[in-house]
Symmetry: C2
Subunit: 284 residues, 2 copies
DNA sequence: CAAAGCTGTATTATCGATCATACAGGTTCC
DNA sequence: GGAACCTGTATGATCGATAATACAGCTTTG
């Protein structure tokens, strides 16, 4: 299998430029540095820069004008979904966007040690492992791997997992969930997540690891979520707390404010604002 | 300038394996899949897998035993620093670790449009831009770019910025800061952050963008922070809120608990990804 | 108009990552 | 002991991304 050697320097430049565009660092409509300048900046040949720009153009992020320059295309194509800290997407649903879940894998396995430890399992105990992909408007944006102790996983079926939020199933079994800890980090896309999220291997991803505990402190769910950063990000409002000598911030609680939800998806179908429709809150 | 073509497939596999090890997916002390298996899994030749393992071994993350296998080195290598939501590092300092700040760049410039907008600046207004790197125990872990309206930036000197927290300087000028919004995301390291954080270009990074407002809602600081995910991550405790039909989480307030702070970075692992000089050959 | 800068296009050459293959020598386990 | 793993090592060939260079045609600017 000879397979292809991918254009990696070029792709990297593509990704970097793409990031800057999405981040708004390069103003929409503005001109980016000339090809020779970019070549020098990244210490590559102009040919390579050219290939990166080809990709950007093919994705519609950029428009080239011969003799003039290369410009950031106005229609800001990609704006991330906004989620608050608790990872709630309900306001998305309120806005009439459809989310969907695909179950990629389901089964009972021996857990990796780190997961066994975080769930407080005894050696030898097995877990239910599931991998799901969440879509919004048909596009995948998150890749969820969950591990649940076997005794708990057996209280629901594969079909139920595909259809209903895991947390709901857990509670249905009588387990109370009141506390959780989570960590947010970044990583690179491996082969499976890349395929599921429609990304290149090596693309950056946001990660969220959450461990849910029942009132006794026992771990009942281990969630590992990977998010496409161009389609998802965490937002939060902060307020100052502590005495004025102390420079501390604290998350502002309460429902997402109007200004937050307003940021969602600017140009995509300016639907009616906040229809109090029924909620199919899907979440994990 | 021919310069080198980097071993990119190999490096990618290296990064992916490294991630899995750090994440604890591959249990410390455990054996990883054989070289032929890894080669098949990533659809590359064994030689390439080998190169990835060479890097892991050189960093001490892995130990190879001829005839037996390749094992995850026990000394739990790199534990990220834990920060709570408000991005407070004070507990680190409490623990006797030394943090340091290096000022890389300081000046007054015309802001990118996105920043001007977020700070609510009038067209033509200039901003003070600074780039700083934060170190812990001598190792860089975050790359901070701040933009402050010119009128505010002029109230302190470059030397003061290098020595004192920006927020303190802002308050000293009489501006009150009570609210902020922030977003967390992921991206890839560009040339400058990569150099400053001692990373390869294309490494994954955690990003934090925070905009601080004064009581009138005027933006007074735009902070863009990049974090090395192997040295820094966000942690938080969550509690359930809402009526029981509602599956919502809310961050638990209060100071970081002991169990959190205990997780901080155990032993420092070494060696930057060596990879020769190449690259940053600025030829402006 | 003319200079300067830009993108489009073409050609040639190089170099190194990667592949495919083979064999040596150690370990594990039955 | 011996089969079946594993890592270590060596080899030659390939192939494609990248570099270097040159020139065309267009646009902008003074």
């Amino acid at each position: 299998m000879k397979s292809s050697v991918e254009p990696l320097k070029a792709r990297r430049i593509y990704l970097l430029l793409r990031d800057r565009i999405i981040a708004g660092d390069l103003p929409p409509g503005g001109r980016l540095p000339g090809e020779p300048a970019l070549a020098a900046e990244h210490a590559v040949s102009r040919v390579t820069v050219r290939r990166a720009l080809d990709l950007l153009e093919k994705e519609g992020l950029v428009q080239r004008k011969p003799g003039s320059g290369t410009f950031v295309h106005d229609s800001r194509a990609v704006r991330p979904i906004v989620a608050d800290l608790s990872n709630v997407l309900s306001h998305l649903i309120d806005m009439g966007r459809s989310t969907d879940v695909k179950l990629l894998s389901f089964g009972y396995v021996a857990p990796p040690e780190a997961i066994a430890e975080s769930l407080g399992l005894k050696p030898g105990e097995r877990v239910q492992r599931s991998v799901r992909v969440r879509l919004i408007d048909g596009e995948p944006f998150s890749y969820l791997t969950t591990h649940v102790p076997e005794w708990l996983g057996l209280t629901y079926s594969e079909a139920e997992l595909a259809a209903r939020p895991l947390l709901e199933l857990i509670e249905r079994s009588g387990v109370k969930t009141e506390r959780a800890t989570q960590a947010i980090n970044a990583t690179l896309a491996g082969p499976e997540p890349a395929a599921a999220l429609d990304l290149e291997i090596g693309s950056p991803l946001l990660t969220l690891t959450r461990i849910v505990h029942d009132p006794s402190g026992r771990g009942v769910e281990h969630l590992h979520a990977l998010y496409r950063p161009d389609r998802y990000s965490f937002h939060m409002d902060l307020v100052r707390i502590g005495d004025d000598g102390e420079r501390r911030w604290s998350p502002a609680l309460g429902r997402p404010r109007a200004s937050d939800t307003a940021k969602i998806d600017k140009n995509k179908a300016g639907e009616k604002p906040t229809r109090g429709s029924r909620a199919i809150k899907q979440r994990s």
